[in-house]
């Protein structure tokens, strides 16, 4: 252990301000907090709760159903990221669609689809375009290439979401959140200034942090110091990757291809302006899907919706570690490597207690 984390651990232990519930918005932060055992280092009265920043966790069941349908269609391949495979839809998941003979292929990058589509013009390639502002620019660049190459057999089945409207909704509905560890990757695209209007409107501090233990410790400490001093600034503690203005080219690429729409967040409901849909001029690439359509009710007893708004911990759910495990996930938060329930289970065990 280097000296810097040592000092941060000591400063955290010495915190004597008011109690605080801080939300880490992004699943990658949640995973790192658990991998490094950072909750053990929090002073009494300070809690970290997980937010809605795992794209897989907030994707609606009806979207999964639409993906399964695409995978089972003739001469069609569904391309998805690996963590989508086990997200339950109404009747089955993508792994189940593959077992039924559907063509489901994993992609490491959306760009993988270009060669496939060019090599197999007789097949249609449907890309499960899920994610936040971090992945949206890649789909925009993909469509640029598809247009340039004249590919007619690529489609996007889009359920992209945007973080700032979701945080706005959370702050309006969850008054008990005292500060936010802003998502690192999203901030690379949006810039740290993107959170200033929220910090002003709701008087809550934001800290943009990277993903290693030291960066997260520094972020938590910054939020606590701001809270103690009654400040609500946006501090960028990840300046090597995040600029105040973000990445204007990536933001422009999103705007060129996508327009905002209302979107359904699994466990939360419809959040106005929190989705992205292809602009009319790209309609030829779109698999029709209404991302704002009300979803079916969650499985009775599943508390994923409360977990991702910071109301309860995964272990407070009666199904956690019993009916719902990483091998037999019921709620989406147990499926994804970035989902809060899956992370708790992996690093704290089936009882959700500390190791």
């Amino acid at each position: 252990m280097t000296a810097a984390p040592d000092r941060l651990v000591a400063s955290l232990a010495a915190y004597d301000g008011p109690p605080a519930r801080l939300m880490e918005v992004c699943g990658t932060h949640t995973a790192s907090i658990f991998r490094n055992g950072i909750r053990e280092l929090l002073p009494p009265g300070v809690r970290l709760v997980s937010g809605p920043g795992c794209p897989v966790c907030v994707t609606s069941a009806s979207y999964i159903d639409r993906c399964v349908e695409a995978a089972l269609a003739p001469a069609t391949t569904l391309l998805s990221f690996g963590d989508m495979r086990k997200v339950p839809g109404a009747s089955t998941d993508l792994a189940g669609a593959a077992a039924q003979g559907g063509d489901v292929a994993l992609m490491l990058s959306p760009m993988d689809s270009l060669k496939l589509a060019a090599d197999h013009p007789e097949r249609t390639y449907v890309i499960a375009a899920v994610g936040f502002e971090t992945t949206a620019p890649a789909y925009a660049l993909l469509l640029d290439e598809a247009v340039r190459l004249g590919l007619r057999n690529l489609r996007l089945l889009t359920s992209l979401k945007t973080v700032v409207p979701a945080l706005d909704w959370l702050l309006a509905n969850e008054p008990g959140l005292d500060g936010f560890l802003a998502p690192g990757h999203v901030s690379v695209v949006l810039g740290s200034d993107a959170y200033r209007p929220l910090a002003e409107k709701y008087h809550r501090p934001f800290a943009v942090a990277g993903f290693d233990a030291e960066s997260i410790l520094a972020g938590v400490l910054d939020l606590l110091e701001q809270r103690q001093a009654g400040r609500h600034a946006v501090h960028n503690l990840y300046p090597t990757a995040v600029r105040p203005e973000g990445n204007p080219r990536a933001v422009a690429a999103i705007g060129r291809v996508y327009e905002p729409c209302d979107a359904w967040w699994r466990g939360l409901g419809v959040i106005p302006g929190s989705g992205l849909r292809l602009r009319p001029e790209f309609a030829g690439f779109a698999v029709p899907f209404d991302d704002a359509a009300p979803d079916r009710d969650e499985t009775p007893g599943c508390r994923c919706g409360e977990v991702i708004r910071g109301r309860c911990d995964p272990q407070d759910c009666p199904m956690f570690g019993t009916a719902c495990t990483p091998r037999t996930p019921i709620g989406p938060c147990m499926v994804s490597p970035e989902g809060a329930c899956g992370i708790w289970h992996r690093f704290h065990g089936a009882e959700g207690n500390r190791a």
């Binding site: 252990m1 490094n36 055992g37 690996g82 077992a99 233990a213």
Partner: protein, 340 residues
């Protein structure tokens, strides 16, 4: 239950993690079990009728890796290493192998030659002979034609040799690993996704390192080769078989920087990444230095280090670099299909 009767087999059932263990335990073991199979070791150790003292070690393994050629080996060298290493882990000297080939229609003969040449070379390195074989050809399937190899191996454990078993770790014992973990997994993953990763597979027969360790006079309680499931899963299985717990020390886990970077990029955990030329050994704490010196005397295990110690409290945990503690889960899900 991971595989109900109305389910179909999924790729995850072959990934070597919790789902594979459930399939083996609930479907195979419940139907086929006997006192030898029930030990669930890397190889069965059997008495030789009429020869007091010596024991036979017997095992089998199938290889379905894609691509069948990769940096540092082929499916042929892998098929020898996997079976030889399983015999070695029981303290046996590998002697004879059989090889059964399933070839897909359209497989280039030049590729098959390369694979079999690799097998022959690795068998010479491991000082084993391939003494029987079988060949079948099946119709072309979608994609590039490939091949599958099943090898079975027979070895002898001579009287007086240590008899390591996954059930013999005790609280206080230390866990050693013979070198950096995850190289083979990362190499295959990079090859499959067209990434340029300058890390060859660690695929190797472990005859030399195991001989060095056993010859050092150390009381070797258990050995396992770190294949599918990786360090976390394999070591966790030793802890579970031995009815004790295990505490890893995060700072000591050897992972090459290139492999670490690939894992960070793809969200993988090196603790569950497979190897084909690494093994763990459990020795009493008092023997640690002697065991490490013996391992480090051989080039294939020059990077041997202690990564954890066994304790009374059940479960597998990690002491993090910050001094905090968390659970270490066995591989769950696919990780990466078909790495061996």
């Amino acid at each position: 239950m991971s595989a109900r009767r109305d389910d179909a087999i999924r790729m995850v059932h072959g990934a070597g993690g919790q789902e594979s263990a459930a399939l083996i335990g609930e479907l195979f073991a419940s139907r086929l079990s006997n006192d030898v199979l029930a030990r669930m070791e890397d190889a069965a150790v059997l008495p030789v009728p009429g020869a007091a003292g010596s024991e036979l070690a017997f095992t089998t393994d199938s290889f379905v890796v894609t691509p069948y050629r990769f940096l540092g080996g082929t499916i042929g060298s892998l098929a020898v290493c996997g079976t030889v290493n399983d015999l070695l882990m029981m303290g046996a000297r590998p002697l004879w192998l059989t090889a059964a080939f399933i070839l897909e229609e359209g497989l280039p003969v030049a590729d098959l030659e390369e694979v079999v040449d690799g097998m022959a070379r690795t068998a010479r390195e491991a000082d084993v002979r391939i003494v029987a074989g079988d060949t079948k050809v099946i119709g072309a399937r979608a994609g590039t034609p490939g091949l599958y190899i099943t090898t079975s191996g027979l070895g002898v454990r001579e009287p007086g040799r240590p008899a390591p078993s996954a059930a013999c770790a005790r609280p206080g014992d230390v866990l050693l690993v013979s070198g950096p973990v995850g190289d083979h997994h990362a190499c295959i993953l990079a090859a499959r996704s067209g990434m340029d990763l300058p890390v060859p597979s660690d695929c190797a027969p472990l005859v030399g390192p195991v001989d060095a360790l056993l010859a050092s006079g150390v009381d070797v309680r258990a050995m396992r080769d770190v294949t599918r499931g990786g360090l976390a899963t394999i070591s966790g299985e030793i802890a579970a078989s031995s009815r004790c717990g295990l505490l890893f020390d995060e700072a000591s886990i050897p992972v090459r920087p290139e492999v670490r970077a690939l894992c960070d990029l793809l969200g993988l955990d090196p603790m569950v990444m497979g190897c084909e030329g690494r093994f763990v050994a459990v020795v009493p704490a008092a023997d640690e230095e002697k065991a490490l010196a013996a391992l480090r005397s051989h080039p294939l295990s020059a990077g041997a280090v202690r990564v954890g110690c066994f304790e009374e409290r059940p479960g597998v945990r990690m002491r993090t670099a910050l001094g905090t503690t968390r659970f270490v889960e066995a591989l769950s899900g696919e990780g990466l299909p078909r790495i061996c």
